[in-house]
Structure formats: structure tokens, C-alpha cells
Homo-oligomer: 267 residues x 2
Amino acid sequence: MQDGNALAARPDIGPDEDKISVSREKGLNRVLHILEFLHTTQRAVGIGDLAKGVNAPRSTTYTLVRELVDAGLLEMAGDGNRVYFGKKLYLYGMDYVRGNDLLRRGRQEVDNLSRETGETSELCMLQSGRYTIVHSSPGTRPFRISSATGLQIPLPWTASGRLLLAGFERTVIEDMVSEDDLVLPDGRRLLLDDFIADIAMAGAAGYCVTSGLVDAYTKCLAAPVFSAPGKVEATMCLVVPIDTSEEKTVDLIALLRERAARLSIAG
Amino acid sequence: MQDGNALAARPDIGPDEDKISVSREKGLNRVLHILEFLHTTQRAVGIGDLAKGVNAPRSTTYTLVRELVDAGLLEMAGDGNRVYFGKKLYLYGMDYVRGNDLLRRGRQEVDNLSRETGETSELCMLQSGRYTIVHSSPGTRPFRISSATGLQIPLPWTASGRLLLAGFERTVIEDMVSEDDLVLPDGRRLLLDDFIADIAMAGAAGYCVTSGLVDAYTKCLAAPVFSAPGKVEATMCLVVPIDTSEEKTVDLIALLRERAARLSIAG
DNA sequence: CTGGATTGTCTCTTACAAAAGACACATGTA
DNA sequence: TACATGTGTCTTTTGTAAGAGACAATCCAG
């Protein structure tokens, strides 16, 4: 099952039809699409729009939504004909946190770090082959982008991405990184070979810094968190102004690496 | 695991859906049961046990689990043949928090309150007809029960339960409260009429105190959070030693009510 | 007012997923 | 050694859920 679902790319024009005919799909898959769609929209959605968004028949969507609302996974939002995530999902999510040492302690460390440094700090992981901000703490600077938790960003855009891929085979990396991912927000285009070289360097150095990749005003410092020797499970990173002095940057990296190391193994 | 599945006993109100034959069930329902089962066990579970736990055929369970793991809703845990909640559920849960003002601010207030008072503080809501601890902050006392987030408790056992039901019709309350719910942990039995009288009183007073209901050593103070005039959306509560002085209790109630009021409406 | 677009509910059909069961391979234990 | 128990992957069968479409009820623009 290769679910390169169309919703992530574009709802309407789908050259990558799984089958020639949009054959009957399993209810569970429809549900998974619905959840993913709500995650991308980040807001309550009308059931009609939802049906369009996941490219499912209206009747099916209505029944599924009703079942999910009854189950508490979704909730009807404000004005009455929109749905969004429900309390049950929150509860399950907290269960996950509780059962996951790394995440639990990582959130804590990230919060500490951003409080101590005043900079935006994040915990990042690979999530189904994509870079994901699992937790972030805003820092105290006047205007800082609220890089929302759960946001997924192309791996090549980030320092963390370079660390997370350390140790992977070249072929695996090629699979994970699409052509589009190599195009930066400002239109510049990375070379795959350069990116792979970056990954090797980052892995060897034990940290990674990128400047002006996602935007022109910040640089990103990242350090790896290991779940086993050599296996990068997550990264902690700091987002700082691009004009941060070399000296301060070095200090921050040292701090970051110390905290990341503290998270590693040590179960 | 000789316990049948407690959760299937009453998935929802009303019609006797328990058929003689455990006939073929919808995949989505199986999934919902799986999630609920994992929520009650609060730990990673082997797939075999999972199948027993939700009373589903092994083969079905294997395929469903595989699909859920692929989707990231579940993850294989530690030793390799157990499953538990996955990162995706955490991300969806955080989306819920973000989209839900009351919860977001409520968590904050609860954390503040427990820090200021040193007592265990909780945010509670109705979740599919049951009392649910949506967020809790432990307080600083030496030994305090870690009333886990997401824990569901019979409504009559709690102060919050009385407030949450304020304004509901008697028949609705009767539907929500089972016979078993009226039996306290220590074996005492509440009368439904008394409970309903309590609800009315709590609703009128705008707060509620219960002593020694869940256990003999604590009392529970609760105040309502309104989503609209008269509509109780949640409660904040404090769990304090049962021998807390009358004077201090009064002070805490005042504080609690102030904070709860701050959460109300104001959306 | 009218015509088009949305919303929510219902019914009926058949394509397809859930379930049964067989299999292969580990374990443990008498 | 046999014998039970747990695990993971097949195939086959058949009950039913996904989907098409019809319906009434809003809503809104022209």
C-alpha cells in the first residue's frame, strides 16, 4: 500500500490515481484521509467541503463523520455544521505522551531551553518519512513565527532534517526526498548530492547549523537525540536571528548539544 | 485476560445492540474499540491480547493494526510485538488543543492554580456522558494520587460531576448514571434522588464540595466553567486533604470560582 | 420570485472487506 | 520426544458497508 494520497498535493488534479477508476475505498482509509485533511487545514471544516477535500462521496462522508462524532474522535464545531478534532483524540494523544519517555522529557527540555535562552526551541522527529515539529516553545522575542506543533516541512529545508537522516542509506534518502522538497521557499534549488553531503557532515559533527533556508531572517541550530548509539530518534533545535554573533551561536550549540545528549538513551 | 471487554458493554446509550452472534463488524468500529481498549489499558499490548481484548478475530486484528501502524495512529512498542498509540494521535491531539480555546486556557489556569495553592488541580469535562479528567496538575504534597489525564470516573463520585450535570433534565441524568455508578469505592451506595438533589444545589450555589467520596482522605472542591450562560462546559477542581480547615477551604473555593469564572465565555 | 448551490437524510445494489481457517514457525514444558 | 500455546501470513467465502442517486429543506444572488 503506497498511499501517496492526493490530498497532500492537490485536491483536484490527480495524475497519480491509484486505479483508473476511483474504486470503492475502505471506510477506515476514508477516515484516515479525513483526519489527515483536518490536520492540514488546521480548522473546522464543513462536511461538504470535507467530502470534496478527501475526494469521497458525500453520503459516505456524512455517515463516517457521524460515526466519528459519536465516538468522540471528531466534534461538531461552533456554528453547527463544521467538524474538527474531538476530545478523544486529545486524550489518546496524552496517552501517547505518557507512554513515551522521550517525548515527555523532550517537551520538558525544550520548554526549559526556550525559557533559558529566550529563543524559539523545538523538538523534531521523523514522522512517516517527513520532518515534523513535535513540540515547540515560542521564546521571548517580539515577533517570532509560531511554527505550529505538528507542522511538516521538507527535510532539506532544515538543520534537523540533516541530522535525522544521518546514517540512512543513500537510496532511502532519495526515496524520502521528493524533487519539490529540494526547492527552498525562496525558489533556490538544492542539489541532492549537496544535501547528502550535508547529512554526512552533520552526522559526523554531531550538530548542524543552517542559515536563511526557510526564511531570510533566521538560522537554525540542531543537535541529535539518540535512541541507541548511532540511531537518531529526534533532534532539538533552536531558531535564532540570522545575525546572531558567532560567539553566541557557539555557546548556544554547546548548550543545545548538552541538553540533547541528556535526552539520549538514559531511559 | 478473562475479563470480557468492559468497554463493549456500553458503547453508547439505548438499543440492545448486543446480538447473539458476534456477527461481522465494521472495520471502523473495530478500530474504535482498539483505541478505546488501549486507552483503558494505558500500556502497549500484544496483538494477540488486543484481539482478545476487543473480542475480534485475530486475522482481522492483525490487518487493522498493520494499517493503523502504517498510518502512524499506532506504533509498535519497545520489544517489537506490542502496539500502543502513535505520534499521529499526539499531533491530532495537539491540533485539538490549539483549536479549542477553553482547553488551552484551562490547562494554563489549572497549572497556575496548582502551583499557587500547592494542591492537585484538575480540569474536568463531560466526555460521551462520562466524567473525564481532561488535564491535571499534581500539586506539591508529598504523596498525591496521580489522577491520570483521561481517567474516567462515575459522575456521582465527584464534586465536578454534580456541577457538570446542572441544568440537565432528570431523565437525561438517569440515562447517564448507571446503577454501578451510584456505588462508591468504599461500598456505600448513593440514592439517585439524593444525587439529583445535590446537582440542583450545586448548580444554584455555583460550586460544590464533596468529602471522602472517592477516598477517605481527600475532599474535592469544584467550580463550573460556562460556555454560555447556564451551560456548564467544564469544571475546575481542587483535591485537598479532608482535614483542611473550614477557613482555608472557603478561601480556596473563592479562588477556584474566580479562576473558573475567568475561563467562562470570554471566548 | 426563481434557479442554482448547499445541506442533511434515505434507499437500494453489489463490490469488497471481515472473518474463518489452514499453514508455518517459533516458543515453552511435561 | 510429543504437546500445547503464541505468533504472523496466507487463501477462500459471504455478509454488508460503500457508493450512487433521489429527496426535501435551506440559503443566497440576481
